[in-house]
């Protein structure tokens, strides 16, 4: 059953507070929440994903609910819990969905060490994948979002999960959090795509989530093989994108610094990263506008077979 079907069949209200299990890329999430508005948003973003009310073995046991006590009525707040522990300060109640998404990212980054986790956007075409590793603020989410609506399947905008056993990229398509200036840029670039409510003045400024194209969610259990690594950097006002081929050794060093858990994985991290860089062509891309950046990426990735 999908999340949309589950909602249609049962609604939320009858089972408020019960656990909801849903699939998020390779992960099963157990979510306990009484917040109907947050569950509604969850369904709008992840409708095609598998979901269930009966127990499944979960990778993450999370909770998003109203803060207890007086805070329920006065300047109400929301708290996130992982395994019953609260790793963050409460958020304003209105930002519960953003907190859930952020909390889940944090949970993944601190735990999913069965993968080498790159801080990267990832997209696939004809079974071959493009990685866009970058630090926050480099425009990785915006560029991933744009490519996802221009012929690429979104594998993820935040995590490039590399499976050590075979070097494949495991998809983790999530709602794409757009920040501040990216929101109007994407509204203009993708006028038909579904954008959730704007959460003003969060820790990262204004945030609005973009829903990934539905096929990305429907195919979220299909891995892809990495072929290109491009380090993007948004440079305001840059007319023509600057694309440079990178030495693999440099690509390796930059990825080792970019990964969430490279040091933690020790030798496994090293061998996985060496293999990744060997199998990919590495580039850096400075861009000032989405259309020309997408065209440049199309050129370097045109040699895909079939």
């Amino acid at each position: 059953m999908t999340l949309s079907e589950l909602r249609q069949a049962q609604g939320w209200r009858g089972c408020a507070g019960d656990d909801l299990y849903y699939r998020c890329g390779p992960f099963i999430v157990q979510l306990r929440s009484r917040l109907a508005d947050t569950l509604d948003l969850l369904e709008q973003f992840y409708g095609p994903c598998w979901a269930s009310r009966s127990p499944a073995v979960a990778h993450f046991q999370v909770e998003v609910n109203s803060a207890p006590g007086l805070r329920r009525w006065w300047r109400s707040q929301t708290v996130f819990a992982l395994d019953g522990l609260h790793p963050f300060e409460p958020f304003p109640r209105a930002q519960a969905f953003a907190l859930l998404e952020w909390g889940l990212n944090w949970s993944i980054a601190t735990r999913a060490h069965q993968y080498l986790m790159l801080h990267a956007g990832a997209l696939e075409r004809k079974g071959q994948a493009l990685l866009l590793p970058a630090m926050p603020g480099a425009g990785k989410s915006t560029l991933s979002a744009a490519l996802a609506y221009r012929g690429w399947r979104l594998l993820g905008d935040e995590f490039g999960l590399i499976r050590p056993a075979d070097g494949a990229i495991v998809p983790l398509p999530r709602a794409i959090p757009l920040k501040n200036r990216s929101i109007p840029v994407i509204r203009e670039f993708l006028p038909d795509a579904f954008l959730g409510p704007v959460f003003p003045k969060t820790r990262k400024g204004d945030v609005a989530h973009l829903r990934p194209p539905l096929p990305s969610l429907e195919r979220q259990t299909e891995p892809a093989h990495p072929r290109w690594i491009t380090f993007p950097r948004f440079v305001p006002g840059l007319r023509r994108p600057q694309l440079k081929r990178l030495e693999k050794s440099l690509g390796f060093t930059r990825l080792a610094q970019n990964a969430f858990n490279y040091r933690l994985l020790g030798e496994d991290g090293f061998t996985t990263l060496v293999r990744l860089v060997r199998e990919c062509a590495c580039f850096s891309l400075d861009y000032g506008d989405l259309d020309t950046a997408i065209a440049r990426i199309a050129e370097i990735t045109a040699d895909a077979p079939r």
Binding site: P55, A56, V57, Q114, N261, L264
Partner: protein, 368 residues
């Protein structure tokens, strides 16, 4: 306790093949608790050793495997710290004995697998601890500034000096000169530990306790030097030490006598009793009887400890008044064992005053 009523984490530790029949609920309780008790990776190795990893659901297998990364990383860090400490101390400072996790790791014992190792515990003779401290301070290790009371607390009463930390690294080094505080009721003689300690292959000047002493120290640490609650990881150590060394015929023969010599009979009794009861540790029945006869407390104390420990040590889910009371009583007991009453009472009063003081400062900051 009937095995079917045990928490799924204990069931899986006792019999790793039991996980094959786990429901999704069993798994979720087991994984969540194993993580909070810091034994998830250890459980994963136990299941893998029983060839049952492939029969676990994918979501469980993912977590059991992912959990191995962090302990592996911590162990590498501790091994590096050991070599740095050894290099910083001139040979004249004498040998070091590694204690607990660092010892298991450097001695290559299988129980190191998946074990989270945060601090480096080292034993040196009391006569040389001052020289060792000076040499480490000269080598870049630093000590937190402490007030006079805390300095005196460590220097006059404790079994260790204030923790040291190298300015470029995030590992706490605890230098001990004995296993229990100077004020403690039990008084194991450190000289006996040194006599039977063993060299670590490939690490000159570094030693570990003998197998029997290792087990006695772990049991002492859990039952006579802390609040017991949250000690499942330590109980797991006892279990794995017994599984590893228990196959040697001479091990069981010498253990009770050694415990008596070191004045650690009572902790041995509790360690064997509760690891057997909760984790199903294989211990010869004759040993259990003998240790019970020699070292068990009077019957009412025995009954009370059994009630308290079997509430406090298994994973606690949710809130229960009884478990809360058990935890509190064991906390009081742990202090009682550490200090005689004429020292304990002023110490606890000082501690609680200081807690009030820091609460006050904290709320002041919030208001400001």
């Amino acid at each position: 306790m009937h095995p079917a009523k045990l928490h799924p984490l204990l069931r899986s530790a006792r019999d790793p093949l039991a996980v094959v029949h786990f429901s999704a609920d069993d798994w979720n309780r087991c994984l969540r608790t194993a993580r909070t008790e810091r034994v998830l990776a250890r459980l994963g190795y136990r299941i893998a050793d029983a060839d049952a990893l492939d029969r676990c659901p994918a979501a469980a297998r993912d977590q059991l495997i992912a959990a191995r990364a962090y302990p592996g990383f911590l162990q590498g860090r501790i091994a590096h710290e050991v070599s740095q400490v050894r290099r910083a101390l001139p040979a004249a400072d004498g040998d070091l004995i590694l204690l607990k996790g660092a010892a298991y790791h450097c001695a290559g014992l299988p129980l190191t697998r998946g074990r989270q190792l945060r601090d480096l515990d080292i034993l040196v003779p009391r006569a040389r601890i001052g020289a060792c401290e000076r040499d480490l301070l000269a080598g870049g290790w630093e000590s937190q500034p402490l007030n006079d009371y805390d300095q005196r607390y460590y220097r006059d009463w404790m079994h260790e000096i204030p923790p040291l930390r190298h300015r470029h690294r995030d590992v706490e080094v605890d230098l001990h000169h004995r296993l229990l505080p100077l004020t403690s009721r039990l008084r194991p003689d450190p000289d006996l530990l040194w006599e039977s300690s063993l060299p670590v292959a490939g690490m000159p000047g570094v030693r570990v306790l003998s197998p029997a002493d290792m087990l006695l120290h772990t049991a002492t640490h859990l039952f006579h030097d802390g609040a017991i609650r949250g000690g499942l990881n330590d109980l797991w150590d006892i279990d794995e030490l017994v599984r590893h060394f228990g196959g040697r015929p001479e091990f069981w023969g010498k253990l009770p006598g050694r415990a008596a010599r070191l004045d650690l009979g009572r902790p041995l009794y509790y360690g064997l009793l509760f690891s057997h009861a909760l984790l199903g540790t294989p211990i010869p029945a004759a040993v259990l009887t003998d240790v019970g006869r020699r070292f068990a407390p009077a019957r009412p104390v025995k009954a009370l400890m059994h009630t308290l420990v079997t509430r406090a040590l298994p994973p606690q889910e949710g809130w229960s008044a009884f478990a809360g009371l058990a935890n509190w009583l064991l906390y009081v007991r742990s202090h009682w064992l550490r200090m005689p009453p004429h020292l304990l009472l002023p110490h606890l009063i000082r501690k609680s005053l200081r807690r009030l003081d820091s609460l006050d400062q904290h709320s002041g900051r919030l208001r400001g």
